[in-house]
Symmetry: D2
Subunit: 258 residues, 4 copies
Amino acid sequence: MEDVQGSVDTRQIPINRVGIKDIQHPITVLGKDGRRSASIATFSMSVSLPHDQKGTHMSRFIQMLNETETEISAKNFNKMLSSMVERLEAESGYIEMQFPYFIEKTAPVSGVKSLMDYQVNLVGQIEQGHIDATLEVTIPVKSLCPCSKKISEYGAHNQRSHITVGINCSSKLWLDELIKSVEAQASAELFAILKRPDEKYITERAYNNPKFVEDVVRDVADVFDQNDRILRYYVHAENFESIHNHSAFAVVEHDKSV
Amino acid sequence: MEDVQGSVDTRQIPINRVGIKDIQHPITVLGKDGRRSASIATFSMSVSLPHDQKGTHMSRFIQMLNETETEISAKNFNKMLSSMVERLEAESGYIEMQFPYFIEKTAPVSGVKSLMDYQVNLVGQIEQGHIDATLEVTIPVKSLCPCSKKISEYGAHNQRSHITVGINCSSKLWLDELIKSVEAQASAELFAILKRPDEKYITERAYNNPKFVEDVVRDVADVFDQNDRILRYYVHAENFESIHNHSAFAVVEHDKSV
Amino acid sequence: MEDVQGSVDTRQIPINRVGIKDIQHPITVLGKDGRRSASIATFSMSVSLPHDQKGTHMSRFIQMLNETETEISAKNFNKMLSSMVERLEAESGYIEMQFPYFIEKTAPVSGVKSLMDYQVNLVGQIEQGHIDATLEVTIPVKSLCPCSKKISEYGAHNQRSHITVGINCSSKLWLDELIKSVEAQASAELFAILKRPDEKYITERAYNNPKFVEDVVRDVADVFDQNDRILRYYVHAENFESIHNHSAFAVVEHDKSV
Amino acid sequence: MEDVQGSVDTRQIPINRVGIKDIQHPITVLGKDGRRSASIATFSMSVSLPHDQKGTHMSRFIQMLNETETEISAKNFNKMLSSMVERLEAESGYIEMQFPYFIEKTAPVSGVKSLMDYQVNLVGQIEQGHIDATLEVTIPVKSLCPCSKKISEYGAHNQRSHITVGINCSSKLWLDELIKSVEAQASAELFAILKRPDEKYITERAYNNPKFVEDVVRDVADVFDQNDRILRYYVHAENFESIHNHSAFAVVEHDKSV
């Protein structure tokens, strides 16, 4: 049966990336304490294609997912990148995998435990054997407006916010640690279960700790600047404003090597 | 050229609805004061199909959209339903059209004007000549938690909420009136532009006016119960909780004829 | 600390449903052969609230999720409904849980194995002790247009389609069986990995098996009509038309008890 | 009333971008022939913030939208960028506006006219007075698989595809021209209304014109390479595969100045 993809192309146009996307696959995430948790990831996998090759072999990407147990850790992710370019006989490759990650959190006063979900996105690229990977996480928190607090006789508008951070590290940084360090910079952190004493605590903590979206990105950036394992990062914060029908957002990017 | 759709079907299975969906088309919305505003609607249009007919003629739905100027008003919507079943030679028909609608609002203290957007959904059904139409609108507002206020020494958690109402009326009820009557039941309403004195006003008003998601649906239901033009309604409120990563919601439905 | 939610309400308006939504939680799905697979569900849980009660206790819904292992099976789902209304002291309750479900499929010629994902939605309601549950699944397939085939000298337009079925059963019907019976009614079924001989097989099978969106819903309805365990169903098919930028869809609903 | 945003910040961290997003606003789009068409855009507007300034003045972004008629053309977009950084007293600024755009198309055989919708995204950046703008459009088309055609005795799988192009030009390139030149590179273009002779034409044209996702990006790249007004571009094509439940995609990027 003819291999149309394998035939020669004469248009002289190399392709930066070709592959598959929006495929869901079950995965296992390896946590700090050796804990393994199940999740479901949405994958995008692609490779470069030289100018003289008509097409790539799409089914090989999916075979990779179906042959491995796909346990996700920094080490395995790098292996996936290497084996993908080898298998597809490509110079460069790119993998993105997004999945929900759960952490058991303890309510601040009652001590009640509940799971909180975070959206994780691993983005990696391999080019001539060199790997560059970014760990991105979206962390939902509470923000309380300093202006509203200052000018009002009582109360202050507050809302759910998303802090999305992307980091590039020299050595391993566990998801749980990263998330904890970011949540500490919000007006208050979120929990799935809060009993009344917890709700009082969170309400008062947020009121005592007002932050603009600008403050949030600066405070997270400050923490990341002081962490030597982080070589490069971006911090994006978005407030789903409770006095408007639109969002306020801010971004800080920093590459320490520059 | 053979008309496959028009051939006879022998499976003895009538089809409740068949048609098209997810098609965008520009429309004109007719407002209370004769004001015409442009919008873009996403349409779903379908008809019933008797058991002995193989297929419907899909292109006729789109032709209806492309032949008319599609000025939206209660009267025109009913006409669309009638002419659709006539054109498709069907016993019953169904149209759903969703579009953003803008109202110019005036900030409460500074008087600054700005546009606020609302998502409208017109849902209509015609069966043996009888038309039944529901006007649905999603109205973004602010809610402030009564429990959080009561138990905390200062502050109270608040957040953006969506109140979605669906009404069936005996006589015309303008969108602007409907939206205004619903916004008045929230802890506070939203604006695209708020100057500092406005922000103070909204912050304090919300603090003085705490409402659970249950309070919001009850207060809107109360207003609708007293409006004789409304024959049937539902009220759905969703709080994008600022202390959790999930929503709280409540629903009240009432058919006054029952 | 005052229990605001527990106080008395005087507005005389009962609430049909109040609860939480859009919360993600890991689950275990029990399959036919005793196989347990991990997934992540998005939950909506709510109860009725009598007119004289101000609010429900939202944290109890989440506590239910965090206390149980949440192994999903028909039996466990019914238990969740019962224990929810008991715990919330409510007359009626409602749970909806959506999650991806994976089936290992074997390519038709090469025999290569790969996972295929389906979106499942369990919807259940309990009212005065009586439970009514619907199992809904969305099954992606291929449809090929009979009209395009008939009138063209070669080729025929075809596209990805979603068949969404909702069934109410007298006795257990396994997801794998249900999905298989629906896939058989499409022009062809989908696979994550197809080798060239498989691709030839699927292409030719679809061409030999043209179906309008009307044919698909009728053929699935026919299968469900002949299955005595199914008491009530709906079939919704949507073709993401490859010659248009909109969808064609059709719906058949049948309650055998009527 | 205190201006909290205007106070001094001591953290020594400049902010790359701060502003608003996800706000909808009606716009007028200026077409080639002077035709004005109404649309609704979703805006993101942001500016840089120096390290010593605590916050930006968010309401000014929205005031810009509410004060102007916001007629969209290349010239006006550049003016918006300039006036934004002036108004916000910022060194650099960024605007993104996404909106649907409609073109009246004529069916290839019957000549029936209908509207087709395209998603447009204008992305612009101003830095120390220098403006850099990208016009991005997503163009839905049909793709037909060359491999499936070659190996099968009859038929070939085909599907809806999205070609998303982003271009940076030296002089004006009208949306209608750009879209037309891209549609010509697909296996076939799409229409909202096709009569049977049109459907036959499109079906056969696609079958005579098979293209992998790799072919589509190369053929569009080839057209752009030959257009001297285009200085820089990217082409992204995504096939919603009709034999799989995932997409195939390819990307070519080219900066002619490099």
